[in-house]
Symmetry: C2
Subunit: 329 residues, 2 copies
């Protein structure tokens, strides 16, 4: 397999991205194509043992930064690492694209300037698998701040196909994220989307609240990108706040300090389970090629895990499944 990594993506680029590329090439034995500033990439590669690995470098003269406006930058920086990398996938010279860069930038370059949308897709969407025990997927997680009921229906179809293909879940249960389970709850978007989902032929379980979503009442939670992004960020913020509160409470007296030390492996286990690096990134669904969007703060391991996810999308032919699924929807 040939996977493109945007070497200029992460906050700590190109060091983290190149280290992740090396790690992924080593772990999976794939060809990794690093796209970006050739001199800087080569300088980073020189820090690693790469003799037995299949690593290629493709120069791109521009970078879409975290502070660039996606619409403008995707139009004006046509030789960005995102354009060059995504075009490799478009032309069939690579199988998938991974970037930990500006999410809006990746979206704009993929949707408007390179891969473009799968026929019939109104809005591509970001899925994200929550690293909680039941591992539910939330879609959309930030690609589309304003949504229409039709979009949510397509998110449901794409999310269902993704978890069925990649996570191997048969006939996945789809829930509509709402502030209450009863029909009539939710804002107007939810109320108008409900009948579309009920009539969709999907395994639709109705409105679900965040608690039910996390407890495993659905395999896919469908939401607009604004609400989804707020949910994800609230979840991350509460997990971090609680960790700090527990650490502070453990320092209160000698007994709890000792208890905390003895229980250290348990805390470490929970931290690892909840670590978004394990998940690696969010699949961008609805464009004509496998794309994984990583956290800006990705380290090498997170980049490797994003490559792992990209490989699963390729192996399980998720893009073709969505093309097929939307034709018959």
């Amino acid at each position: 397999m040939r996977i493109v990594i945007d070497a200029m993506g992460s906050d700590n680029h190109p060091a983290a991205d190149v280290a992740g590329a090396v790690m992924a090439a080593h772990t999976f034995g794939d060809t990794i194509i690093l796209v970006g500033d050739e001199a800087r990439i080569e300088a980073e590669l020189a820090q690693h043992k790469t003799a037995d690995l299949s690593l290629e470098v493709k120069h791109a003269s521009q970078v879409i930064t975290m502070t660039d406006k996606p619409g403008d930058a995707s139009r004006t920086k046509k030789d960005s690492s995102m354009h060059v990398g995504l075009n490799l996938v478009k032309e069939g010279a690579a199988d998938a694209f991974v970037s930990a860069g500006n999410t809006g930038g990746i979206l704009a370059v993929a949707t408007l300037h390179t891969l473009r949308r799968i026929r019939g897709v109104q809005r591509p969407a970001l899925g994200v698998v929550f690293p909680t025990p039941t591992r539910p997927m939330l879609i959309d997680n930030g690609a589309n701040a304003d949504c229409k009921p039709d979009y949510l229906l397509q998110f449901a179809v794409m999310g269902s196909l993704y978890v069925s293909r990649v996570l191997g879940i048969d006939n996945p249960r789809i829930g509509l994220i709402s502030n209450g389970e009863e029909e009539g709850k939710g804002n107007s978007l939810i109320q108008e989307s409900l009948p579309l989902l009920q009539a969709s032929g999907l395994n639709f379980v109705g409105n679900i609240e965040p608690k039910e979503f996390l407890q495993g009442a659905a395999d896919v939670g469908v939401t607009d990108g604004f609400t989804g992004n707020i949910m994800l960020k609230t979840a991350e913020a509460i997990a971090s706040t609680m960790s700090t509160m527990i650490r502070d409470a453990l320092m209160a007296n000698p007994l709890t300090i000792v208890g905390g030390l003895l229980a250290r492996s348990a805390f470490k286990k929970v931290r690892q389970q909840l670590n978004p690096d394990e998940v690696g990134g969010a699949p961008l669904l609805g464009v004509r090629g496998p794309v994984i969007v990583g956290h800006g703060r990705s380290n090498a391991y997170a980049i490797q895990q994003a490559v792992k996810q990209a490989r699963l999308m390729v192996e399980n032919d998720v893009v073709a499944a969505i093309e097929e699924g939307l034709r018959s929807a």
Copy 2:
């Protein structure tokens, strides 16, 4: 002070509500007026020592249940405990109203049939103080699933006055909850609300993400009721999920079991801090009288804490402050 408690409110009514009334009368020395089915309330009161307390009972023949549709029930059940209790406040026979009942029902009865809105208020809103270390307030937390920018501006004014009066925070910092801090982030509601808040004369700190909200970047987070409710419910769900994950991880081996036992007081402390019962309830802001809405699963202690909050609203004359604040806004 004379506080009305809806005896038919909580999931465990009237037992929890009556026990909370007794506790509050004892703790605060106020007169508590229990409204609801007189016979059932008297039967509950007989279980408690009430000799030295100032407790009154006011009969109401109907109950708006958790499954009632708020609009219908508020029109047809005119002798509900909510109608009777809120009318006592309206007529000046009581100072504040507390209920752990159907939130939509309380809203509808207060706004449309009894107290009614403060002049100039477009939509009353529910505030909620997050029980995290910095104790920020989120408004709206579920009263208005669909909002306009004007509403969010008023939520900001009301939230600011509440935390300034009740929590004693001078010139509170107001943030607009969004999926990114930069201008241009957010959905169309956020983008249209931003200039209104910037021009409001409030101490507005701009868009804030959930993480910054929880870390204390603002005293009040402003949001529509759908997003606010999803945020609150996601926070509760993650806190609960993490507790379960930690408990399970601690059971893994003898060392961590012992560690967990030694550290028990620390976990208890964190659980207490995060306990929504401490907060007691959500103030309904924008109606002509102090109203506190409790969790359906309130126990006696939570009811007492809701009464405590109601007392603070009365003592600090929050309703008059909002009347005044919206006239000059």
